[in-house]
């Protein structure tokens, strides 16, 4: 099995090597005359506003959190999908289905809650922020 991971390792090396090699080659052939304009942070071509280190909105955390929860759910569901066909063939398909469906239904409750309580709403918070700036 370790041999199989040799492929993974090869990809890793090639991936890192590709970036490193390109940076190295381009540093050899590009002209090097920096100025103030060039050294500003690249932000989609716009001029950067304010420092990068600012306190973020808590919504980001919430979305990341919901993502992690469903990430963990996938981690649990993946092995079940691998053996699901075997289970169906041996006549236990219904049981496997019920078990995994229970798991998903329970997590769906969390999702319904998040949705109904505005955990996934961006427009609301952005709108209120917009109104705040309008007032001032």
């Amino acid at each position: 099995m370790l041999e199989n991971f040799a492929y993974v390792f090869t990809f890793l090396i090639v991936g890192i090597g590709f970036v490193a090699l390109n940076l190295f080659v381009s540093s050899l052939i590009r002209p090097n005359n920096p100025n103030e304009q060039k050294e500003t942070v690249y932000d989609c071509g716009e001029l950067p506003v304010g420092p990068g280190f600012t306190q973020f909105n808590m919504r980001f955390y919430l979305v990341a959190f919901v993502f992690v929860i469903f990430d963990v759910e996938i981690a649990f569901m993946y092995p079940v999908t691998v053996i699901f066909k075997d289970m169906v063939n041996s006549g236990w398909g219904i049981l496997a289905f019920v078990e995994i469906a229970l798991f998903i239904i329970i997590l769906l409750v969390g999702f319904i809650y998040a949705w109904s309580q505005g955990g996934l709403e961006w427009a609301k918070s952005i709108k209120s922020q917009f109104e705040k700036t309008q007032d001032t």
């Binding site: 992690v68 798991f103 999702f111 809650y113 918070s125």
Partner: protein
Amino acid sequence: MIGIPEIFFYIFCALIFGSSLLVVFSYNLLRSAFALFFVLFGIAGFYVLLGGDFLAVIQIMVYAGGINILLIFGTMMTGSISQPETSNPSFQGILTLIGGGGLLLILLIILNHTTWPSQSLIDHGPTTKQIGQLLLRNYILPFEVISFLLVAAMVGAIVLINKGERS
């Protein structure tokens, strides 16, 4: 005679040790959070060496890919993040050093003097199917109950964030 797995073991050791030093001693909180990625990645490497291929992928997917992002978002919400030099005071005093060092010493001595009932590392092949069978059979109860934990965590996060926004 050092085989290829041993070489990789030491590579991963160096990776984990080096980046965990960064996590602990970096004065920039965000840099600590990013360095944690390499610690978690190195642990995935250990799982591969021990024959847990599924676990290794999950480690990268959930920990390196999910929880680490969560931590980075978390650090971005800290109040004094705009002064990265003061956001992470690293040295907590001499007592913590003694405590941590003492614990390390005790663990090292005890673990070194133990004869573990060890098995030779047999090449098991892919483990995903076995894990799937165990999840649906022997470990069905924890498997279902864990989802309640996830739901409670999600509800709690939403309640606290909504409350924080209102106040």
